[in-house]
Symmetry: C2
Subunit: 214 residues, 2 copies
């Protein structure tokens, strides 16, 4: 859910002190700042040094679909640099964010000359595809109760906490459905989650739910 990539972080740090240092800058964004806009031509690639962003598509009917939360060491803008297309999605800071910024042209150059960099990017792309497929399958095939519970557990694991709206957008449901499902989970005590490998005690469940429940 919240993706991070240590390898990229080190990589970006090295870039900043290496021969291309002049072309690599650091920018900061306040929560809520949307620094990439869907449909716009972009010329830079960002590697997140600190903070969390959400990565979402806004459909014609005004609904948002968040397909990733990007954290430390994650890259964005790379698809557009590679494909030379307008931006697929919006990127918005949800906590204060610091990011390395490099020109798309430099990114492409590095892809061609720096085989370590190339390998890291390729692995990242491959991982994203795999994750996206797994998630798309999961969310389409199981009821949201399952997907939501799974997400709450991931949040607990990773020690992060997203707003209701963001969770709802990630699951492609309304906040109303989110509320309802939370209530049902509590009432049922998460009984009947068989076949899902989601084993957790009543107490653990309560801890997860409490946070959305004050």
């Amino acid at each position: 859910m919240l993706r991070t990539n240590q390898a990229f972080l080190s990589c970006a740090e090295r870039l900043q002190t290496g021969e291309h240092a002049r072309q690599v800058t650091v920018k900061t964004f306040e929560p809520g700042a949307r620094f990439i806009r869907q449909g716009e031509q972009i010329h830079f690639v960002y590697i997140i040094r600190e903070g969390i962003t959400k990565c979402y598509i806004r459909e014609d009917n005004g609904k948002d679909y968040i397909f990733e939360f990007l954290g430390k060491g994650e890259i964005t803008g790379e698809l557009e640099a590679i494909r030379k297309t307008p931006s697929l999605c919006n990127i918005e800071a949800i906590t204060p964010v610091t990011a390395y910024v490099l020109p798309g042209v430099l990114f492409l150059q590095l892809m061609g000359t720096d085989s370590d960099f190339n390998r890291i990017v390729v692995e990242e792309l491959a991982t994203r595809i795999a994750q996206t497929c797994i998630r798309a399958s999961y969310q389409q095939i199981y009821p949201i109760e399952y997907a939501l519970l799974r997400l709450l557990m991931l949040q607990a694991d990773q020690q992060v906490f997203f707003s209701k709206k963001d969770i709802a957008d990630y699951l492609a449901i309304t906040v109303r459905s989110f509320n309802r499902t939370i209530r049902q989970l509590r009432e049922k005590g998460a009984i009947g989650m068989d076949g899902l490998h989601l084993d957790l005690s009543r107490k653990e469940l309560d801890n997860l739910l409490k946070r959305y429940d004050v």
Copy 2:
């Protein structure tokens, strides 16, 4: 929906006559043959020379989610070669298929030494991510009526024809829902598809629907 990649095809042909020819073979598969199985360790990468395959995840509850149809020039097994993980999904021929087969190790070697090959793979991965995101968003956010209509039009464009079950699995719905939606579309004459840029005449619609309707 049905992805193809001419660049890869040429690439594979060159491989077969180049210095690595000995390691590149050609295999054929009958419709229904599942030549990659979810969860298994795989050691080869396939590039499709001819035919169509489906690429799907089977969930614990027995439901399938098709996330891509791969046609001419598409590659598969590359994610597993890159990430060194068991297979994410099943690959099954739905028409007679001929494919180039190369060892995962050779694939990785080419990624490191052949910059053209590398670039083509990177572009393919990037495109898949973009397409997957667009589709996931679309399918989650709009009712199936829209997604189905869109799919039918794509089919017509590409001059292909998938079975009901496959279409249903692609849309993550049941065949029952598929039937119902087809009927509704016909009754309504695809009226009310605003905001979707799906403009087609009554006659065109009938042509699309007829094929599932005899």
